[in-house]
C-alpha cells in the first residue's frame, strides 16, 4: 500500500509565550491519501496559513508529529528539509511570489536548478510545465509584464515542474478575478484528474466546491471533514469547467 501523502497527528502551534501566547493550532490531526483534492476552509484567523506553513515544511509545529509521504519531517535537518521542499512539495501562494526580474521560464526552471538538473533537461521540463498552464507564448516575459492570472499560472507551473508529491496552495485565487480564478481552478481539476494530490486553502466556497473533500477549521481545530467525491474518481466540478 502506498503511504499517506499527509499524516498529521495532534499538531499544535503556539505563537509567543506566557500571557500573549496565541494558540493558532490546537491539535489538528489530518490524513490525506494520494490523489485526493482537499480544500481547507475557515474564517480569518482560524489557523489555515499556519497549518499550510507546517505542511509545507516552512515552519515547525510546537508539538505533534507530521509524516510527509511516509517520512517523519520533524527529525530532518536543514539540508534534508530543503530537499523535501524541493522534491515533494509544490507551493502556490496567494501573492504569486515569483522572483522579480526573472523571466517566466527562469522562474519555472528555478526549482529544477536547485534540484541539480542539467540545463537542457531543465528547459525542456520548464517549457512543458508552462505549456500545460497555457503560457507557451509568454515564457520570456518577466513577472511585471504578466497579468495576475498569468503570474499565478506561472507559479503553478513552477510548483508542478518538479512533479511533487503534494501541490499546496494558499488562497491561490485570492488575488484573481473570476475569469482567472476559473482558469486556475480548471488547471487544478485537470491535475487532480491525472492523480496529483492537492491541498487548497481557501475561504471561498466556490473554490472549495471543486475539491473532493472539504475540511473546515475553526479556532485552530478541525470542526468538519466532508467527502464530496471518491478519492480515486474525478473531481466533482470537472465537466462544468471543461465544458
Amino acid at each position: 500500500m502506498t503511504p499517506l501523502v499527509l499524516d498529521l497527528q495532534d499538531i499544535r502551534k503556539v505563537y509567543g509565550e506566557g500571557e500573549t501566547a496565541v494558540h493558532a493550532l490546537r491539535g489538528v490531526s489530518l490524513a490525506v491519501e494520494p490523489g485526493d483534492y482537499v480544500a481547507i476552509m475557515g474564517a480569518s484567523g482560524s489557523g489555515k496559513s499556519t497549518l499550510m506553513n507546517i505542511i509545507g515544511c516552512l515552519d515547525v509545529p510546537s508539538s505533534g508529529s507530521y509524516r510527509l509521504d511516509g517520512t517523519d519531517v520533524g527529525v530532518l535537518d536543514d539540508v534534508r528539509l530543503a530537499i523535501v521542499r524541493n522534491r515533494k512539495i509544490g507551493f502556490v501562494f496567494q501573492s504569486f511570489n515569483l522572483i522579480p526580474r526573472m523571466s517566466a521560464l527562469m522562474n519555472v526552471e528555478l526549482p529544477l536548478a536547485y534540484g541539480g538538473i542539467k540545463a537542457a533537461e531543465r528547459r525542456r521540463r520548464a517549457l512543458a510545465a508552462l505549456e500545460r498552464v497555457g503560457l507557451a507564448d509568454r515564457v520570456h516575459h518577466q513577472p511585471n509584464e504578466l497579468s495576475g492570472g498569468q503570474q499565478q499560472r506561472v507559479a503553478i507551473a513552477r510548483s508542478l515542474v518538479n512533479a511533487p508529491t503534494l501541490l499546496l496552495a494558499d488562497e491561490p485565487t485570492g488575488a484573481l478575478d473570476s475569469t482567472s480564478t476559473r482558469d486556475v481552478l480548471a488547471i487544478f481539476d485537470q491535475l487532480s484528474l491525472t492523480g496529483r494530490t492537492i491541498v487548497v486553502i481557501t475561504h471561498e466556497s466556490d473554490v472549495a466546491a471543486h475539491a473532493k473533500r472539504v475540511v473546515r477549521l475553526m479556532d485552530g481545530q478541525i470542526v468538519e471533514d466532508v467527502r464530496r467525491s471518491d478519492v480515486a474518481g474525478p473531481p466533482p466540478r470537472l465537466e462544468e469547467v471543461a465544458g
Partner: protein, 424 residues
C-alpha cells in the same frame, strides 16, 4: 546548481541595481588603483634616485670639502643627499684649522703607493650657470666642470661625437671643451658643433666633443653640462681657488671601501686631522648612498601603500554595507527561493558571488586605471608598476569581497524560510 549558474544569478542580482553596484565597485576601484599607483610612484621615485646615483659614475667616490663654500656644485647630489652617505668623518666636534681641497691633495691621492685601490683621481672645479654664446645663439650652461680627462670615465660620461680632451690639453691649459646634448642643441641646433668656437662668459673655447645623452634626472638636466680642462677653467672662469671636489675612481666594485679608507688616511695626514678632530672634508660613497637612499624610499613606498590600503579597506566596508542592504531588500526573494527548495549553500554562494564579483570587477578596473595612470608623469616621477603590487591589490580585493560579503551572505543563508516570506 553549478558554479557558472551561481555566477549568472549573481550577475543578475548586481545588474538589477546598476547605480548601486557601480558606486560600490568605484570604492574598490579607487582603493586598488591607489595601491598600485602609489606603489608605482614610490618605485619610480626610487629607481630615478638610484639611476641618478649610478650616473655619478661606477665605483666612484666624491671627496668634497666641508669648509664654507667648499662643496658647491658636484652634480647636485653632494648637496641634496650628502647627509646620507658621508661616512665616519662627519659630525660636529672640535675642528682643527680647516683646509680646502687642493690640486696637491688630488696629486697625493693619485700616489699609487699610498692608495693602491685608486684607479684615477680627477680634481674638479665648478663654474655654474655660465652664459655661453655661439654666433647669435645664447645659452646658460647649468654646470661647467673643469677637470682631468679621467673624469669622463670616472663620472660615466662617454663622448658620442668628436673626442675627449687629453692630458696635453690639461698641461697646456688649452681652451677646449666637451659639451652636453642640451648645450649642443641650444647653441647649434642641427649644426655640427665639433671644431666650432663658443664664448663662455666672454672666453673663447673650442668644442672638441659632445657627450652622450644621459637624460633628465628630475632634479636637473643631466645634459646641460660642459667639461673643460681644469687649468683652462681656473684661468678664465673660476680663478685658482680651492677645488670643488675630487672625484676618485676605485679599481673595482670590491675595492671601493678600501679606496675610501686609503683616501681618509692620506687626507687626514695632509690636513692634520688626528684623534677626535672632525675632518674638514667628506667622502660620498656611492654604494653607501645607494643603500641609505633605497632604505629611505622603501619606507616612503610603504607609507604610500598603507594610505592606499586604508582606502581599499573603506571600499570593503562599502561592500558589506551594500550587501546588507541587498539582503534586507531581498529577504522575501530569499524566502521564495527557500520555499522552492534552495539549499543554504546556494543562497550563501549567490550572495558571496555577488560581493566577490563587485570587488573583483572593481579590482580589475582599478588595475586598468592604475596601469593607464602609470603612463603619465606624476609629481615629476614616472611611476613604475610593480607586478607584485598588482597581484596583491587584486588578491586583497577578492579577499575583501569574500570577507566583507560573508557576513551579509551568511545572514541571508540562515534566514528561516517562513520569516523571510513574511518579511515586509
Amino acid at each position: 546548481m553549478n558554479a557558472f549558474e551561481v555566477l549568472r544569478f549573481a550577475a543578475r542580482g548586481l545588474a538589477a541595481n546598476k547605480m548601486r553596484s557601480a558606486l560600490t565597485t568605484l570604492g574598490i576601484l579607487i582603493g586598488v588603483a591607489a595601491v598600485i599607483l602609489l606603489v608605482a610612484v614610490g618605485e619610480g621615485a626610487s629607481r630615478e634616485i638610484q639611476s641618478n646615483i649610478q650616473r655619478l659614475g661606477a665605483n666612484s667616490l666624491t671627496v668634497s670639502s666641508t669648509t664654507a663654500g667648499g662643496g658647491g656644485g658636484g652634480g647636485g647630489f653632494a648637496r641634496l643627499l650628502g647627509g646620507g652617505g658621508g661616512g665616519p668623518q662627519q659630525g660636529s666636534g672640535p675642528r682643527t684649522q680647516a683646509k680646502d681641497l687642493t690640486v696637491d691633495d688630488a696629486r697625493a691621492l693619485a700616489d699609487k703607493s699610498a692608495t693602491p685601490s685608486v684607479k684615477s683621481v680627477s680634481p674638479i672645479v665648478n663654474a655654474n650657470n655660465q652664459t655661453t654664446t655661439y654666433e647669435g645663439a645664447s645659452h646658460s650652461i647649468q654646470q661647467l666642470v673643469g677637470t682631468y680627462p679621467s673624469y669622463f670615465e670616472a663620472s660615466n660620461k662617454p663622448v658620442v661625437k668628436g673626442t675627449y680632451f687629453y692630458n696635453d690639453d690639461v698641461l697646456a691649459a688649452r681652451k677646449v671643451i666637451v659639451i652636453g646634448q642640451t648645450v649642443a642643441e641650444n647653441l647649434f641646433g642641427d649644426l655640427d658643433p665639433i671644431g666650432k668656437q663658443i664664448n663662455v662668459s666672454g672666453v673663447p673655447f673650442t668644442v672638441v666633443g659632445v657627450l652622450k645623452e644621459s637624460g633628465s634626472t628630475g632634479f636637473q638636466d643631466g645634459d646641460d653640462v660642459a667639461i673643460a680642462p681644469l687649468p683652462a677653467v681656473q684661468q678664465s672662469l673660476t680663478g685658482f681657488g680651492p677645488l670643488g671636489q675630487i672625484l676618485v675612481q676605485a679599481t673595482g666594485a670590491d675595492t671601493v671601501d678600501a679606496a675610501q679608507s686609503e683616501i681618509t688616511a692620506v687626507l687626514d695626514q695632509r690636513h692634520g686631522i688626528t684623534g677626535t678632530a672632525t675632518a674638514d672634508y667628506r667622502i660620498l660613497n656611492q654604494a653607501t648612498l645607494q643603500e641609505t637612499v633605497s632604505a629611505a624610499t622603501g619606507v616612503f613606498t610603504m607609507l604610500l601603500a598603507a594610505v592606499a590600503g586604508i582606502s581599499l579597506l573603506v571600499g570593503g566596508i562599502g561592500i558589506t554595507n551594500i550587501m546588507l542592504v541587498t539582503v534586507t531588500e531581498r529577504t522575501r526573494e530569499i524566502g521564495i527561493r527557500k520555499a522552492i527548495g534552495a539549499p543554504k549553500g546556494a543562497i550563501l554562494g549567490q550572495f558571496l558571488a555577488e560581493a566577490t564579483m563587485l570587488s573583483l570587477v572593481g579590482g580589475l578596473l582599478g588595475v586598468l586605471v592604475a596601469v593607464i595612470g602609470a603612463q603619465f608623469t606624476i609629481a615629476g616621477v614616472s611611476p613604475v608598476v610593480v607586478p607584485s603590487s598588482v597581484a596583491l591589490a587584486l588578491g586583497v580585493s577578492v579577499a575583501i569581497g569574500l570577507f566583507f560579503g560573508s557576513y551579509p551572505a551568511n545572514r541571508a543563508a540562515k534566514l528561516r524560510p517562513i520569516e523571510a516570506l513574511r518579511f515586509e
